[in-house]
Each structure stands twice: as structure tokens, then as C-alpha cells.
């Protein structure tokens, strides 16, 4: 169990460099080990793409980073703050880390603009007018300002996911997590979402993306992570990852998804 509080010295030293650090992270669902001694270090501004077969623990790993799942062993340090049961630490991390889900998870009873302004107003205590200006700025960035006064149910899947990205950006996070952001989309809508993500990467956002979109990975990733059965099998830059991967399991996986 992970109950010791964050020791300030070591993290302060790493702060300028490391955005996210996972050290020997373990997690079980009952008897099933979902994460097995996971070690990852992500620098600020780095774009990391995580791939692997389903059930390999990639979603669990990314969800541990903002504590939607608890890890039961090891350490997770985000922005110099260690994630423990301390609710203050968790809230601090969550307000710095944006997350985009596979199923969008927009709030269906609120208009788009209200979806975007809610967290800045409640968590950041931003005045309504400022929050709305910010929201419009990000809606323009994801190219759907004209949808601001509609409800999520009136938008296409691709538009909803772009709104979800804008909603996370409104909290002005330092890290963005994407958990299979295009897996629930029709093929013709995948591109519009990926375009937004590429643009975000070009702006220097620290990103951790779980995806099967290998084209996207090749374009933006600084680092590829391949997971299988809760373990990290391979960490490599994309040039090496896609051409000469070390592990046989990585090769098999790549063969399967690149030739399907």
C-alpha cells in the first residue's frame, strides 16, 4: 500500500524535467494482476503513445495517472505530486491533468458552452464571462464554435469528441491523457479528432495517448510504449519501434494491426 506522503526533495529536483513518473506500479483486480511492475518516465512536452492488445493494462495504466483507478503498489508522481489517498493531492493532480475518454462523457443535460465553462468556474473559481471567453477560444481551436449553444446529443461523434478535448483544455492542464479517443468513432470522423490532437502535440502539450491509430503514432510520438498482460514489453522511439522492435511480442502485435 502507498500511504507515505510525498517527500519533497527528490521531486523538486525532478520537477523541471519529469512530468509523470511511474515507479514499480502494481495493480490487481481481485486475483487478476492488471499492472505488473510498470516503470515509465515522461518528460515535459513529450508525446507518448501506448499500444497493446486489449486487456493489456494500457487503459488501467493511463487511468492510474489521474487516480480514476488506485494503484496498490509502487509510486506515481505527477508534476512533482505523489498520488496517495490524500484527497488534496488527488485534486491538485486532476486539475493539472486533462483526460479524454473513449465514450466522450460529455454532460448531456448541458449545452456545449456550459460543458466547457463548468470546471473553470467551479474548480478555478473563474468569473463566468472569462470562462465563456476561454471556452469560445478553445471551441474555435477545435473548429466548432458554431455548436456552442447546442446540446451534446445534437452533435456527431467526432464533434462530441472535439468538444471533450476542448473541455479538458479549458482547465489549462499541463498534461493531457487520451484513452482510446477515436475507438468509438465512425471512420470518417476519426481524422477530424486526430487532426486536433496533432495540432495539440505541435503546440508542445505533454500527451499520453492510448490508441490503435498507428499513423497518428508515427506522426507525433516521441516515444512508443507497448504493453501486454499488464507489463511494459517495449519502450522505443517510433523509428525503431515500427522498424526493428526488440521483442517478439511487439513484432507479432505490429504485424497483426498493420496488415489487417
Amino acid at each position: 500500500m502507498n500511504t507515505d506522503s510525498a517527500s519533497p526533495m527528490t521531486q523538486q529536483e525532478q520537477d523541471g524535467e519529469t512530468a509523470i513518473e511511474l515507479i514499480d506500479v502494481n495493480k490487481w483486480y481481485g486475483d487478476f494482476q492488471a499492472l505488473c511492475d510498470v516503470n515509465i518516465s515522461i518528460r515535459r512536452g513529450e508525446r507518448v503513445v501506448v499500444c497493446g492488445p486489449s486487456g493489456s493494462g494500457k487503459s488501467t495504466m493511463i487511468r492510474c495517472i489521474n487516480r480514476l483507478e488506485h494503484h496498490q503498489g509502487g509510486k506515481i508522481i505527477v508534476d512533482g505530486i505523489e498520488l496517495t489517498d490524500n484527497i488534496k493531492n488527488i485534486e491538485a493532480v486532476r486539475s493539472e491533468v486533462g483526460m479524454v475518454f473513449q465514450s466522450f462523457n460529455l454532460f448531456p443535460h448541458m449545452r456545449i458552452i456550459d460543458n466547457l465553462t463548468l470546471a473553470p468556474m467551479l474548480v478555478r473559481k473563474m468569473p463566468k464571462a472569462d470562462a465563456e471567453a476561454l471556452a469560445m477560444q478553445y471551441l474555435e481551436r477545435v473548429q466548432i464554435p458554431e455548436q456552442a449553444y447546442k446540446y451534446p446529443g445534437q452533435l456527431s461523434g467526432g464533434q462530441q469528441q472535439r468538444v471533450a478535448i476542448a473541455r479538458s483544455l479549458c482547465m489549462q492542464p499541463r498534461v493531457m491523457l487520451f484513452d482510446e479517443p477515436t475507438s468509438a468513432l465512425d471512420p470518417e470522423m476519426i481524422k477530424e479528432v486526430l487532426d486536433v490532437m496533432v495540432e495539440l502535440a505541435d503546440d508542445g502539450m505533454t500527451m499520453v495517448v492510448v490508441t490503435h491509430e498507428m499513423g497518428f503514432a508515427k506522426t507525433v510520438a516521441d516515444k512508443m510504449i507497448f504493453m501486454d498482460k499488464g507489463e511494459i514489453v517495449e519502450i522505443a522511439p517510433p523509428e525503431i519501434f515500427f522498424t526493428t522492435p526488440e521483442s517478439e511480442r511487439t513484432q507479432m502485435f505490429l504485424n497483426q494491426i498493420l496488415t489487417h
Binding site: 489521474n66 480514476l68 485534486e91 486532476r94 486539475s95 491533468v97 486533462g98 483526460m99 475518454f101 465514450s103 462523457n105 460529455l106 454532460f107 448531456p108 443535460h109 463548468l118 470546471a119 467551479l122 474548480v123 474555435e140 473548429q143 466548432i144 464554435p145 458554431e146 455548436q147 447546442k150 446540446y151 451534446p152 446529443g153 445534437q154 452533435l155 456527431s156 467526432g158 464533434q159 471533450a164 473541455r167 479538458s168 482547465m171 470518417e188 470522423m189 477530424e192
Partner: protein, 377 residues
């Protein structure tokens, strides 16, 4: 970004096709087809239709004859009614004041009438979405509370004081109903959230509270509130009886309503909680802004169901000696001269109950539509 929608795929296709295709044909439904589709879809439906027609054929004429043709609408005294073969609606003209206002002093009835009118006006204002602003509703309800209580209690402004043991009839029904909702609904939400809480103590208290009180008849709760509860209070300390009754009804209402709301809460997907958490929202922020608005909308039909039941449950106060509209009517109809026309009086009271409940149900349908506009969930 310009205001055109060319960048967005779905918008463009919609814009390109609209206006070019002919409108859909207007469908005409012949009478026979309407009958087939609505009254006689299956042999069973046909049978039900026939049975209903037969019942109407036999029941309706005699009811019309009793209630309208042979009825007496105005009568100087009860002897006129006794000679007629039909209904005696004159009894309502004769007895409506004690029916609707109970044992409140006769010459002060106008105060109750004014109070009821103010109250119902306030309710109507509250029902209109255009007025859903704090700066309108707060003053409206402060005024309503102050004016209705002043009118009913009296003791100021030259109005003779009337103790609340003498309150009765329709105002009492409305007071009990409003009190039940105002105390009971927030309690229901707290209990529903408590039962789903991850804190074991909170959860246990909610479960025990709901399950123990839900299993007890309302009459028992009222009896305890009025006769047993004071025994546990220290000497000299006494809560108002009316208030105790109201709290008893509110608790009963809350236990049922909590389970309806819990049903709605369960329908909200895990993703909604996660999205709120990921944005950094706290528990209460998540519940109040994200989860409850959706859960209450989903469970609205069930919620209204229990609200309507709560309105009619106010008549249970009969067993503890309060004269609500129904009890007051029963009491009034003890009058030997008019006794045989009790049915007419009860029909009248039933009609008043119906009007309130029907208005509630119609309004809830409207609300459902407003909340559902543009939203799929």
C-alpha cells in the same frame, strides 16, 4: 473561425441536401384505418373496446339522468332535495364552507380564501420557467409565506387570532402537502445519495432509515408523531402538533422518494462520474451539477407518482383529529337533514382532489418535455 460550417462534415451534408428534396407526403388516415389501428389492433383490443362500449352504454345514461336531468342544483332547504329523484348538488352550496374551511371561525373564512388564492398564484408563478430566477421566486415565496401565515394565524393587524388546532379543510390539505414536499424532497435526495455512498456508516444509516420506515404504515408514523413522540420530550418542551404531523408525513414521503431517485442515480453511467472527477470537481459539485439533474429527469415519472400519492395521503390526518378537506366533509355530513346526500359532497371533494392531481401530472409531462429538448439521455 468564420461562421460557416464547411469544416464540419455532418453540417455540410445536412446543408447541402436540405431544400432540394421534396417535403414528405402528408399522410391522410381514413376513419376506418384509425379505428383499426387504435381500437381494434388485436382480437383482445377489439374485445376491450366492445366491453367498454357496453359499459358506457348502460352506465352513462343512468348517470346523466341521476347527475344532470333529475338533479337539484339549487334548494332553499333539504326538503326540496328529498322530493327529487336525482342528485342533490344543492348540498354543496349549503355546506361548501365547512367542507373547504373546516372548523375555522365562520366569519373569518374570507381570510382562508384569500390565503388559498395567494398560495395557488405563487405556485402557478413558480411553475412558469420564465420566472425561474432567484430574484423573482425568493420574494414571491417570502411574501406568500408571510401573508398566508398572517392571514391564518391572525393576532395582528386587527385580525382575531385563530389557533392552528382550528385550521382545517383545503388550506390544511395544502399546508400538509407543501410541508411534506419542502421537508421531504431534500431529505429524499440526501437518503438516496447516502444509500449509494462509499462511506459505510452513511450508507448503513440511510439503509436502516429507509427500510425501517418504509415498512411501517403511514398511519403508524402519524400516530407515533402525535402520541408517542411527545412522551420522549423533556417536560415543558413541546413541538407544535401540526409540525410533528408534517415531519412524520415528510419522512414517510422521503423514504419512498429516495428509492425512486436512487433508481435514477443508478441509470447514470460511470463515465459521467469519471468525467467530472477528471475535471477536478468535488463530490457535491459532481452530484449537484452533473448527476442529480440527470437522475431526477430520468426518475421524474416515479417522482410525480409519489408526489400525487403524498397529496392524497394528507387525508390520513383524520385519525389524529385534524380536519383536512376530506375529514371536514365527513364531519359536516353528519348533519341529519343533509346526511343522505353525502355521496354528492364526496364527489365534489373527489373532484377537487382530481383537479389538483391532474394538474400535477399534466405539468410533469410539460416539464419532462422541456427538460428533454435537444437532449438524448
Amino acid at each position: 473561425m468564420t461562421d460557416n460550417s464547411l469544416t464540419d462534415t455532418a453540417g455540410r451534408t445536412a446543408a447541402a441536401t436540405s431544400g432540394r428534396r421534396p417535403p414528405p407526403p402528408i399522410e391522410r388516415i381514413p376513419v376506418l384505418r384509425w379505428i383499426r389501428e387504435n381500437l381494434a389492433q388485436t382480437p383482445f383490443n377489439m374485445l376491450v373496446t366492445v366491453i367498454c362500449l357496453v359499459v358506457l352504454f348502460y352506465a352513462l345514461p343512468s348517470f346523466v339522468e341521476w347527475g344532470l336531468i333529475n338533479a337539484t342544483f339549487v334548494a332553499a332547504d333539504h326538503t326540496v332535495c328529498r322530493e327529487a329523484t336525482g342528485a342533490c348538488w344543492a348540498v354543496i352550496g349549503e355546506k361548501h364552507r365547512p367542507m373547504f374551511f373546516g372548523i375555522y371561525p365562520y366569519e373569518e373564512h374570507w381570510r382562508l380564501l384569500v390565503a388559498v388564492i395567494i398560495y395557488i398564484s405563487a405556485v402557478i408563478i413558480t411553475m412558469i420557467p420564465a420566472f425561474w430566477q432567484y430574484r423573482i421566486l425568493v420574494p414571491v415565496w417570502l411574501f406568500t409565506l408571510a401573508s398566508t401565515l398572517t392571514l391564518m394565524w391572525g393576532g395582528v393587524l386587527g385580525l382575531p387570532e385563530v389557533d392552528n388546532s382550528q385550521w382545517g379543510g383545503l388550506p390544511l390539505t395544502l399546508i400538509l402537502f407543501s410541508g411534506t414536499l419542502v421537508i421531504g424532497f431534500p431529505l429524499a435526495i440526501v437518503l438516496a445519495l447516502g444509500r449509494r455512498s462509499s462511506m459505510p456508516a452513511v450508507k448503513a444509516v440511510s439503509v436502516v432509515f429507509i427500510e425501517s420506515l418504509r415498512g411501517v404504515p403511514l398511519i403508524t408514523i402519524l400516530f407515533v408523531a402525535v402520541n408517542v413522540f411527545p412522551l420522549f420530550l423533556p417536560q415543558g418542551l413541546d413541538f407544535d402538533k401540526l409540525l410533528r404531523v408534517m415531519v412524520g408525513m415528510a419522512i414517510f414521503f422521503a423514504c419512498y422518494q429516495a428509492e425512486v431517485i436512487r433508481g435514477g442515480l443508478q441509470a447514470i453511467s460511470r463515465g459521467q462520474y469519471e468525467a467530472a472527477e477528471a475535471l477536478g470537481l468535488g463530490y457535491w459539485q459532481t452530484m449537484i451539477r452533473i448527476i442529480l439533474p440527470q437522475a431526477l429527469r430520468i426518475s421524474l415519472p416515479g417522482i410525480v407518482n409519489h408526489i400525487i400519492a403524498a397529496f392524497k395521503n394528507t387525508s390520513f390526518v383524520l385519525i389524529i383529529g385534524l380536519f383536512d378537506m376530506l375529514t371536514a366533509t365527513t364531519a359536516v355530513m353528519q348533519d341529519p337533514e343533509w346526511r343522505r346526500f353525502t355521496i354528492e359532497a364526496y364527489l365534489c371533494v373527489g373532484f377537487v382532489y382530481f383537479c389538483f392531481c391532474f394538474a400535477l401530472s399534466k405539468y410533469s409531462q410539460l416539464v419532462e418535455r422541456w427538460l428533454g429538448e435537444g437532449k438524448k439521455f
